[in-house]
Structure formats: structure tokens, C-alpha cells
């Protein structure tokens, strides 16, 4: 893990509604993610895990607090600037993959690059590298409907890491996958993080959280506990050995 800070959440709170019907999804959350660090967030349903992730990715504006991505204060940026940040700095991985069915695997991966004005040929080359990293080069021209769930999620990961992006925000990325495929996906995530990216992994599965460097426990919108994972390999040995 590097000491380079990729993401910092500083006193972030999120409240939906007003008055008596107001719901507090997050309350004064502080969180830091460094380069080469994978942070797992665990908690029960409604604890605010996904809200935290969308706030970190600039999809939702917090009620209060600051979000700093690679030194950029999101509260000072216009929507177009935050969109540019999503094109260049951070990538989402969703439980339901959220690939665009009208685009091929490669087109899905190169989408953020092309939206950013990259030349098509160059974007395609970079996209193929990303697909190569998730071992899906031979499926580049397939449409999502022609891919298995695991393959779709690997495409989603390739999209999240393509180009200059180095902050991965994964929301239950293995939720729709079987355990074997899920492990492959997690291994890839881990690999990207080990190569210098940073990431947040929202999960409710302790075995998946074990892939992280740090586990943050959340309840009722607050971080109630945080612990480091000593060795991922140690945690994996019993599972893979069984």
C-alpha cells in the first residue's frame, strides 16, 4: 500500500427527506483510501454502504461533509467536472454488471475513453489491453447478452480500470455470481489494487471482505468499527483448500 491518498471522505453525512420523515443514510463518515489499498465495507442492509459508494463516486452529493478524489474537492466542481472525473479517475463495478447491451464488450470498455474524446483506434487499443488484463480478449466483439455473468463482470472490471482510472468502487461485485466465478472476479480486483489502484469493496460476505486490506463496519449510517486484515492468503487457504 502506498501512502498516496486517492480518496478521502471527511465528515460526510447524507439525509433523505425533511422534517419528521427525514432518513439519515450516512452520519459523519470519515474514510480514506490509499493507492494500493482495498477497503471493504460491511454492514446490514440499509446501513448506508451503497450510499457511501455513490457519494464517493460523485453520483450523489452529500448533505454535508467533503469528498476529495485525488485532491479534487467534489463540492467545488460542476457536474461536468465530476463526470470528467468518472471518465478518468474512478470506475464503478456493480452487482448487476450494468453493461450496456447495445454495445459490445470492447465498446463497453472503451466507452469512458471515447466519451472523453479519445481517438477510436487508440481507445480500442487501450480497451483491448484492459480486456486482456481480465482475460477476455477473445470476447471483445461479443455483446453482453452473449457473455456469462462472470464474463460480464470481468468486462465491468475492465471498464472500471481502463485508461488512467485507478479508483475502483465495487458494489457487491460478486452478488450475482457463483462462488467460483466470484473468486475469479475478486482476484482480479485484488490484482488491480496490488498494481497501484485503490478501491472500495462493498459486501456483506466476510469471505469476500477478506480480500481487502481493511474492513470497515457500518451500521445506521455510521462507521462503528474498522480492522485490518492481516493476510488475505491466510484467509483464503482454508477456503480454497476445502
Amino acid at each position: 500500500m502506498s501512502d498516496e491518498l486517492l480518496l478521502q471522505l471527511d465528515g460526510v453525512s447524507m439525509q433523505y427527506g425533511k422534517g419528521e420523515t427525514a432518513i439519515t443514510a450516512l452520519s459523519g463518515v470519515d474514510l480514506q483510501v490509499h493507492a494500493g489499498e482495498l477497503v471493504a465495507i460491511m454492514g446490514a442492509s440499509g446501513s448506508g454502504k451503497s450510499t457511501l459508494l455513490t457519494i464517493a463516486g460523485g453520483l450523489t452529493t452529500p448533505t454535508s461533509g467533503e469528498v476529495i478524489v485525488e485532491g479534487e474537492w467534489l463540492s467545488t466542481m460542476a457536474a461536468a467536472g465530476i463526470a470528467a472525473l468518472r471518465r478518468r479517475t474512478l470506475g464503478f463495478v456493480f452487482q448487476d454488471f450494468n453493461l450496456i447491451p447495445a454495445l459490445t464488450a470492447l465498446e463497453n470498455v472503451t466507452l469512458p475513453l471515447e466519451l472523453d474524446g479519445w481517438k477510436r483506434r487508440k481507445a480500442r487499443s487501450v480497451g483491448l489491453d484492459a480486456l486482456c488484463a481480465v482475460e477476455l480478449t477473445d470476447r471483445a466483439d461479443r455483446f453482453p447478452d452473449d457473455l456469462s455473468g462472470g464474463q460480464q463482470q470481468r468486462v465491468a472490471i475492465a471498464r472500471a480500470i481502463v485508461g488512467t482510472r485507478r479508483l475502483i468502487l465495487a458494489d457487491e461485485p460478486t452478488g450475482a455470481l457463483d462462488s467460483t466465478t466470484g473468486e475469479v472476479v475478486l482476484r482480479m480486483l485484488r490484482g488491480r489494487v496490488d498494481n497501484g489502484a485503490g478501491g472500495i469493496l462493498v459486501t456483506h460476505d466476510a469471505r469476500h471482505a477478506a480480500w481487502a486490506d481493511r474492513i470497515v463496519f457500518q451500521r445506521d449510517g455510521r462507521i462503528i468499527d474498522e480492522s485490518a486484515v492481516p493476510s488475505v492468503d491466510q484467509l483464503l487457504i482454508p477456503a480454497t483448500g476445502a
Binding site: T60, R88, L115, G117
Partner: protein, 1018 residues
């Protein structure tokens, strides 16, 4: 650990940097290339900038790249959702097909120069028409032969003789005279009047205009050619002999078949040599003859020289190479070809169609946007801006609009071609060729793209503003109701209705105040604009209030059954698809109701101005026939045998009573200022009886009235306004129509026949006592009326209305007024005894027969045929001498149109409802599945469908009907367009139609297809 922030060189600088310069792929290599000063000191640095930072505008290439992605996604999504795409394509294609078809047909109706030459001239060089005597200042249009002038402020001289064409050309110049006439021929079933052309139509130089199909041209006056469809009418074949009854009885032989390219194939026509049919040469009827010059080419200078001789020319050389307009010195007629008119009408229809399509396709795009929300959210999650999201959906509109344009144009061209083939009837001047206006087609294709784009615009705007996070989770949230829109809508609605009504009132006021503000006056545009803008604003207001209205309906129905409650809630919570359907129904019904009201209004107006000839159902045969010649009135011919006419009527219709009426004939020729033998010689002393209008009963606006002033000629004057409501001015027949017999003679039964009802007791008494019955109150003063006898010279300048004039003699009779149900062209009635006593000269003038029931069309046809077959019932070229007329009252022309409008609006409303309901069902599949999982049966789904259709189309229909009545009501302020709403049809459209649609929706509700499959992202 103290956090260490890295300063980005500038996110925005990075935007500005050519992205293509970044060749790094791996994260490590990227990090390695970052400069040391890339990292910032955090927020403080940002705050120093003093404002929210915005990235620079993306480069053109970036924007193009985003548009390309949007088009790619749009294209593939359209193919993926083929059903929905096909629906939108079909909707766009419909008005486009209409427009393309109209453009094709319209352009094909407009001839090119070459086609004009062929159809007008054949292979000849020019066509000459002698229109006036030589006139040195006469000029003509180079291309339009009938557009000419004899010179500024100078009417053509009548003093000199017309020039014969032969005298205008060098000796030996070949000239072909063609003269249109008619003949009466013996047909297979009787006799018939047929059009005829005399002259060498079969000459090879006229090929293209007249084509010989079979046989040869006539060589003698006893030989004719005919069109192909004339043969079956004559019951003859090529080589047969047929009998002509007039102009002169003779037998002629058919020696050839000729096709007149300027007439349809069904035209029945006979062709003979010059003078063979009429017995007259071309020289005797110069004005009515077309002279074709086959061999002599005429340039513009020669045409101008011929103009000075009183001839107009259509020249091949001039048509091919017309002179510059500025050198002509005479403007051509304003260009208002049938093509432009058709295009204008087509554009209005297409505009309305496009509006409907934009609404309905917009609803389809709303559903598409909802189905695509997750895709759009995903695109947003990878860094797309809202403008990119907008592009993705609006590009769908462009793609589907383009497809719709291609399909529509193809269908329009095919449909237009079929239409022309079916209606061309071999007439080369109906469709001059297959003219495909490519530029116009391209414009129509662009129009289709615009329709598609406009349809997707609002859904795309809404889709670009949705909650991305919710969409990523697959959650569906109803739109937040706007408070501002209903308020704006209400203001627009009130403003629109006010403007519409105000426009109508202003229209009426301007016309009333002016009576001199003519139609077409620029001032009249103000109310017209108000009348158009008002309903449009009002409808826009209703559309903006639509969501509120639907929520109101849902609130009203909250205590109804489950189906009604669910349906009303569904409509209220999904305004994106329900409001466009409501609006589409509303605009359709609006147009239909307005058009229906205008039709009914026109019919009522027409009925108000209808002049009855007799009572309803009465058959009327006037026994006299006024001959008209080119010089004006000719002789008055009289059919000699009224009894035979009566028998003919009895043989054809169910007669209740039949009377032969006598009248005092008025000298129409003298009263119309014609030269008459009565004005000189022995007849000069003859006097003519006419009823007198007492001075106090004469309309003040009639010159001769003691109350007449010059001021009354000003329509805006108080005197003129007062005259318009004065009882003496209501019926103009007594003081305006002369030359039509006013005094009628007979017994009580004859009087009853004219009146259409039994005479009053007073009328019968006065008639028996030697008095007169007046059909108009203006003849009677102090229970008496007068009849005066005038000399021909006194009548020569028109009817004598001056009370100071001295007639030859005057008789005063006791009189009563007994008016027919409708004003008729009969003035007063006296008995034969009275007529003889006062010396009236009367003769049988009319046969009238009342009928037991209104004659059928078959009886009418039989009567017409029987009248044609009457002996001696013809008068040379004037056609028949006498003919029967059946008084059927004003023709109810509006009803078929109104029913047609009901049908058309029903079709469009059904289509709109089908689209709306289909989309709602597609959109509500998950709800349907949920309902099924809760045990809801088919009955509930049917109730749901019934109420869904009723709420949407019912609201649209009622609102549309209300809106449609506003301009009709406003125009009703003008007496010329009285408000007349066909309530039955409006009721059917506003109430029965939505109910029928709802019932259809109930009937065609399919079983639920519960699917465990998740709704796909796209």
C-alpha cells in the same frame, strides 16, 4: 498519517489536453509520467479560484465522438426493441407517406414545358385564337394564351371586324381549325347529347393531342370518328352507321377511333369534318375556334404582331424559349398551380399529422427512456454528462425518424403511383407524367427526421435529469409533480379561450361595422390570427394541466373499484405516456368537432340563403325557355302542349295533384335593356302589366323610394343598418327580380299549389270576390294592391319604381297577403275571371305537381329521361326546351362530411388509444406480474384496461370537443357563419367513442403472461 494530496495539473487542463496524446495504458506508467507539481494543496487552492470550477467546453472532436456513440447506442437499441421501434417508424411514416404522395401527385399534375407543348399543340407549331378585333395595344402572356389585355384603359374595339387567321399568314399557310360543339345522337337506349369537335383533329400534326387509335379520318361530311367509349354508348362498332338527331338529322358512318389526350378515356365524343355537324364554317365562329398552325413557327415578335391583329397565340418556339419577363411588358398571371395548392393542403394535413405523431411517438419514447434508464445511468456512471444522455435518446428519435422517412417516402411514392394509375383515366392533362420531385422528397425526409427528433426531445430532456443512483439500482420513481406547469397551463387555457372568443367577436364586429371591410382585407387577419392562436394556446394549456387533471381524476376515483382506481392512478403516475395520448385524442377531436361545426354552420347558412322554387316535393316544369345567344337575350320559346307535360310527370312520379298555371309574361328582353322589336313598330303601343309597390312599402335602400338618400349607400351608415332590419327590405323579389313573371292567374287549387298549403279563408274570399292574393306584404297597402300597365319604352330602362311615374293605366284590387312557407318567385295571384275583367294578358306558363312522397332518385331519373323524350323538346344548340325540377329543399351536404369526420376522428382516436394502452401495458409488465402474483384475475385486468382507456380517451375527447366548440361559437357571432353544432355527432365523438374504445380495450385484454425474467436494461 497526515494525508497528502496531490494536485492535479488541472482537471480542466487535462480536458483541454489532447486526450490522444496520452498513450499510457497501465496505471504505473501513468503515475510515472505525472509531473511533480501535479498535486494540489487541497481545497484552499480550489477556493482561491472563488467559484465552482467548470471544465472547458469539449472540443468538436469530443462532441462528435459522443454523438457517434449516442447514434450507435440509439441504432442498436432501436433494433433490439424492434416492436417499439416499428411502432414509432410507422407513426412517423404515416404523415410522411401522405406528404410524399401528395408531392408526387401534385408535381405530376404540373406539366413541364415539353409536356405542355405536346398536350396543347401536338406536333403543331402554334395555336391561334381570335379574341378581339385588331387592337394596336393588345398584349399577351408568352406562356398563358388566355392571359391577355387589349391595352391600358382601353377596351377592345367592337367597331371593326375580326380578322380571319388565313389573312394573317402568307397564302398557302396550312391552318387547322377545330371547333367544339355538341350533337344529339341516337344511342343504344335512346338519344343523348354528345360533345363534338369539328375540324381535322386526326391530322398527324396534332398527334399527342389527338391520337388515331383505329381506322382513319373522315373523308366526307357523312363520316365521323369517335372516342372508344362512345361506341358502346351508341351501340355501334367501327364501320357502323349512326343517326344524328341534331343539329341536322342525318346518318353518319364511324370510320375511326380517336383518343383525345386531354380528356379521360371515358369521355364520349364525336369528331367530324369542318362544318359537317353544325353546318357552320370556322369563319362564321371565329371566337369559338382554335386554329392550329402545323408548319409555321412563330417567334415572340411574330406573336406580338399577331396580338395587334386581335389574336392570341400559344407558340411552341415561345414556350420553349420564352422572352425575359422584363421585356414582355405584361405580367403573367400569378402562379397558383394546382400543385402548390395541393402542397399547401398537404402541408396542413401533414402538420396536423406530425403534431399527432410527435405526441404519440413522444409517449413511446417516454416508455423507451424508462426502459433505458439503467443504460443511461450506466453511461452516466462512466462519465457521461447530462448532454450526452440527452443525445443518446434524442439520437433514437433521429434514427427512427430517418427510418420512418425512408419507409414513408417509399410508401408515399408507391401509393401516389397507384393513385395516379387508378385516377388518370388516360387523360394526359390530369397527370402529365411521373414527376418525382427529388429535392422535395429530400426535404420530406428531413421533415421526418425532425419529427422523430422532436418526438424524442421531451422524453430525452426528462431522461437526462433522472436520479442516476435509483436507476442504477433498477428503482422506478414517479416524476415529481410540478406546481408551476398547471398554473401556466391554466393561464394559457384562459388566455386561449378568451383570445378565441374575442377573435370571433372582432371578426363579426369588423364585418358588421364595415359591410365594406371585404374578405381579404388586411384588418381581418387580426381576428383570424386570434381565432387560430386562441385554440392552440388553450390546448397547450390543457396539455400542461394534463398531469393535474389526471391526478384529479385519480382522486375522484379513489373510492371506485380496484380496476378503476388502479387505472386512474396508473395514468396519473405516468404522465409521460398518458398525457401525450390524452393530448393526441384531444387535438383530433378538437379538429373534428370544429370542422363538424363549420360544416353544419355552412349548411345552415346555405339553407338560410336557399331560394325555393316551390313547396317541398313539388315538380315544376316551366313551359317557356329563354334563349341566350352570344349577343344576349334571344327569343322566348314556349312548349306548346302543357297536357303532355302533365302526363309525362304523372307517368314518372307519384303525383298528388297537378296544375297548369298561367302567368302574365314579363318582357325580359326589354327589362334587361335589350333591343327589342317591341320598342318600335306596331308593338310599340303595347303595354305590360306589373304589380305596383306602394311608396310607403318600398325598401328605403331602393333608388326610387321616397326615403332613399345617398347616405344609405354607405353600408356603415345608420340608415343602411336600419334598412337591413326593415321588413320592407327582407325579400327583394318584388323590387329586384324582373323579367320573371310576377302575376299568376288561376283558381283556388292553383293558388294552393303555389302556396304549398290551403289558402286562408280570407284569401279564398278575396279571390272569389275579384280581388288579389299577394305573396309578399310589400304589395299591399290598406288591404288593396295595384297593377299598372307600362309601355315598352317606359320599361326599357328597367322596372318602374318611381311612384311619380305615369303608367298607361292602373287597376286597384282588394287584396290580402297569404305567404308560402318559404319566399318564392311568385308575386301575386288573381282568378281567371278577375284577370279577364281587368284585361290581363296571360298564358300557360308552368306545370306544377305536388307529390305523395318525395320522388326517389330513380323516379327523378325517369322523369328527366321522359322529359328528354318529349316530342319537340329541343331548341337547336340550346339543348332541351323544357326540363323538370323537383324541389328538394337545400341539399344537406354537411351530413356525409360530418359522419366522415366522426369516422376519421374515431380512427385516429382509436390509434392514439391503442398506442397509449399498448405502451402502458408494455410499461406495466412488472405491475401486471405483481397483480397476478397477488391473485388478480383476468376480470381485474380487463377492468383496468377499460378504465385506463376511458380515463385517457374520455378526458381527451371531452376536452377536445369543448375546445372545438370555442372557435365555432366565436365565429357564430358573424351572421354568415351561424353557430350550428351537430350535437348528435359531437356527443358520439365525445362520449360514445371513448366508451367504445374502452369496451374494445376490455374485450382485447389478453391473459397475463407472468415472467420471472427481469426487465432487460434496454
Amino acid at each position: 498519517m497526515k494525508p497528502r494530496y496531490r494536485r492535479r495539473r488541472s482537471a480542466h487542463a487535462a480536458d483541454a489536453t489532447e486526450p490522444d496524446d496520452r498513450t499510457e495504458v497501465s496505471i504505473h506508467s501513468f503515475l510515472a509520467t505525472r509531473p511533480a507539481d501535479y498535486y494540489s494543496a487541497g481545497r484552499e487552492a480550489t477556493e482561491k479560484r472563488g467559484r465552482v470550477s467548470r471544465p472547458p467546453r469539449p472540443s468538436l472532436r469530443t462532441r462528435l465522438a459522443r454523438q457517434r456513440i449516442a447514434l450507435t447506442i440509439a441504432r442498436r437499441t432501436s433494433i433490439h426493441a424492434i416492436g417499439r421501434s416499428a411502432l414509432i417508424i410507422a407513426m412517423v411514416a404515416l404523415p410522411v407517406a401522405g406528404l410524399a404522395g401528395v408531392a408526387l401527385v401534385g408535381d405530376s399534375m404540373t406539366p413541364t414545358v415539353a409536356e405542355t407543348i405536346t398536350t396543347e399543340l401536338g406536333n403543331t407549331q402554334a395555336r391561334i385564337r381570335i379574341v378581339t378585333s385588331p387592337s394596336p395595344k393588345m398584349v399577351q402572356s408568352p406562356t398563358v394564351q388566355d392571359w391577355w389585355s387589349s391595352g391600358p384603359d382601353e377596351s377592345p374595339s367592337q367597331a371593326t371586324e375580326l380578322r380571319e387567321p388565313a389573312s394573317l399568314f402568307p397564302a398557302g399557310t396550312r391552318i387547322l381549325p377545330l371547333y367544339s360543339t355538341s350533337v344529339t345522337a341516337t344511342t343504344a337506349t335512346g338519344i343523348a347529347h354528345l360533345e363534338a369537335i369539328e375540324g381535322p383533329s386526326w391530322d398527324p400534326s396534332l398527334a399527342g393531342h389527338f391520337d388515331v387509335i383505329d381506322g382513319r379520318g373522315p373523308l366526307t361530311d357523312q363520316e365521323i370518328m369517335v372516342t372508344a367509349s362512345t361506341l358502346p354508348r351508341l351501340g355501334a362498332e367501327l364501320g357502323d352507321t349512326v343517326k344524328l338527331a341534331s343539329p341536322a338529322p342525318e346518318s353518319v358512318t364511324i370510320v375511326g377511333i380517336l383518343d383525345n389526350q386531354t380528356e379521360s378515356d371515358s369521355t364520349q365524343m364525336i369528331f367530324g369534318r369542318e362544318g359537317a355537324l353544325s353546318g357552320k364554317s370556322a369563319a362564321e365562329r371565329l371566337r369559338q375556334t382554335d386554329f392550329y398552325v402545323p408548319d409555321t413557327s412563330l417567334n415572340w415578335a411574330e406573336v406580338q404582331a399577331l396580338n395587334k391583329e386581335g389574336a392570341t397565340v400559344l407558340s411552341r418556339a415561345v414556350l420553349s424559349n420564352p422572352p425575359a419577363p422584363e421585356t414582355v411588358g405584361f405580367s403573367a398571371p400569378p402562379f397558383a398551380s394546382s400543385f402548390l395548392i395541393l402542397l399547401f393542403v398537404g402541408a396542413i394535413a401533414a402538420g396536423f399529422g406530425a403534431f399527432e405523431v410527435i405526441l404519440l411517438a413522444g409517449a413511446a419514447f417516454t416508455v423507451t427512456a424508462r426502459q433505458q434508464q439503467r443504460t443511461l445511468a450506466t453511461i452516466a456512471s462512466v462519465g457521461a454528462t447530462r448532454s450526452t444522455l440527452f443525445r443518446v435518446l434524442s439520437s433514437s428519435g433521429i434514427v427512427l425518424g430517418a427510418f420512418g422517412g425512408i419507409v414513408g417516402i417509399a410508401v408515399g411514392i408507391a401509393g401516389g403511383a397507384v393513385f395516379m394509375a387508378l385516377t388518370g383515366e388516360g387523360n394526359a392533362t390530369r397527370y402529365f407524367g411521373f414527376h418525382l420531385p427529388w429535392l422535395l422528397m429530400l426535404a420530406i425526409a428531413a421533415f421526418a427526421v425532425v419529427i422523430g427528433w422532436l418526438s424524442a426531445l421531451m422524453p430525452a430532456r426528462n431522461a437526462s435529469r433522472f436520479d442516476i443512483v435509483s436507476a442504477l439500482r433498477g428503482a422506478r420513481r414517479p416524476p415529481v409533480p410540478s406546481i408551476r406547469r398547471p398554473v401556466v397551463g391554466l393561464i394559457l387555457l384562459i388566455l386561449g379561450v378568451t383570445l378565441g372568443l374575442g377573435g370571433g367577436v372582432l371578426f363579426a364586429v369588423l364585418l358588421e361595422a364595415g359591410r365594406g371591410v371585404p374578405y381579404g382585407h388586411p384588418l381581418l387577419w387580426v381576428p383570424i390570427v386570434l381565432l387560430i392562436a386562441g385554440p392552440i394556446l388553450a390546448q397547450l394549456g390543457v396539455v400542461l394541466c394534463g398531469p393535474l387533471l389526471l391526478r384529479g381524476a385519480a382522486r375522484l376515483m379513489r373510492h371506485s373499484g380496484v380496476g378503476a382506481r388502479l387505472a386512474s392512478q396508473d395514468a396519473a403516475r405516468n404522465p409521460g405516456r398518458s398525457v401525450p395520448a390524452l393530448a393526441a385524442t384531444m387535438t383530433t377531436i378538437f379538429v373534428a368537432v370544429f370542422a363538424m361545426s363549420m360544416m353544419a354552420s355552412a349548411e345552415q347558412s346555405s339553407a338560410q340563403h336557399y331560394q325555393y322554387g316551390a313547396a317541398l316535393g313539388v315538380v315544376q316544369v316551366r313551359l317557356t325557355h329563354q334563349v341566350w345567344t352570344n349577343d344576349g337575350l334571344g327569343p322566348l320559346l314556349r312548349y306548346p302542349d302543357p297536357s303532355l307535360v302533365g302526363d309525362t310527370i304523372r307517368s314518372s312520379v307519384d303525383v298528388a295533384d297537378l296544375r297548369i298555371l298561367a302567368s302574365v309574361n314579363e318582357p325580359a328582353d326589354i327589362l334587361n335593356g335589350q333591343q327589342s322589336p317591341a320598342l318600335s313598330g306596331s308593338d310599340a303601343a303595347k303595354t305590360y302589366a306589373m304589380p305596383v309597390i306602394p311608396a310607403e312599402n318600398l325598401c328605403p335602400s331602393v333608388p326610387g323610394s321616397t326615403e332613399y338618400t345617398d347616405a344609405i349607400e354607405d353600408p356603415a351608415s345608420e340608415a343602411a343598418k336600419a334598412a337591413r332590419t326593415d321588413w320592407r327590405c327582407q325579400d327583394s323579389f318584388p323590387w329586384e327580380s324582373f323579367g320573371v313573371d310576377h302575376i299568376w292567374v288561376g283558381d283556388t287549387a292553383d293558388l294552393a299549389m303555389i302556396l304549398g298549403h290551403a289558402p286562408t279563408d280570407d284569401a279564398q274570399r278575396v279571390l272569389a270576390e275579384g280581388g288579389a292574393v299577394s305573396f309578399y306584404p310589400s304589395y299591399v297597402a290598406n288591404s288593396q294592391l295595384s297593377i299598372s300597365w307600362w309601355s315598352a319604352s317606359q320599361l326599357a330602362n328597367g322596372p318602374v319604381l318611381d311612384p311619380k311615374a305615369n303608367p298607361a293605366r292602373t287597376v286597384t284590387l282588394d287584396a290580402v297577403v297569404d305567404q308560402p312557407v318559404h319566399p318564392l318567385y311568385f308575386g301575386l295571384f288573381v282568378s281567371n275571371k278577375t284577370a279577364d275583367a281587368i284585361g290581363l294578358d296571360y298564358q300557360d306558363s308552368m306545370v306544377m305537381a305536388s307529390t305523395k312522397r318525395m320522388p326517389t332518385d330513380a323516379q327523378s331519373d325517369a322523369l328527366t329521361q321522359a322529359m328528354l323524350n318529349l316530342p319537340d323538346n329541343r331548341s337547336s344548340e340550346q339543348g332541351t326546351l323544357i326540363a323538370a325540377q323537383i324541389e328538394r329543399g337545400p341539399a344537406p351536404f354537411a351530413e356525409p362530411w360530418v359522419w366522415g369526420l366522426v369516422g376519421l376522428s374515431a380512427l385516429i382516436a382509436i390509434a392514439a388509444a391503442a398506442v397509449a394502452i399498448g405502451l402502458a401495458r408494455f410499461d406495466g409488465r412488472q405491475d401486471d406480474a405483481t397483480l397476478s402474483s397477488l391473485g388478480a384475475g383476468r376480470r381485474l385486468r380487463r377492468n383496468f384496461a377499460f378504465w385506463q382507456a376511458l380515463v385517457i380517451t374520455g378526458a381527451g375527447a371531452v376536452l377536445g370537443a369543448g375546445m372545438g366548440l370555442v372557435p365555432a361559437l366565436a365565429l357564430g357571432a358573424n351572421p354568415d357563419t351561424p353557430f350550428a353544432a351537430p350535437w348528435l355527432q359531437i356527443g358520439l365523438t365525445a362520449v360514445a367513442l371513448p366508451l367504445a374504445i374502452a369496451c374494445g380495450s376490455w374485450l382485447f385484454t389478453r391473459r397475463s403472461r407472468v415472467s420471472a425474467r427481469r426487465v432487460t436494461i434496454a
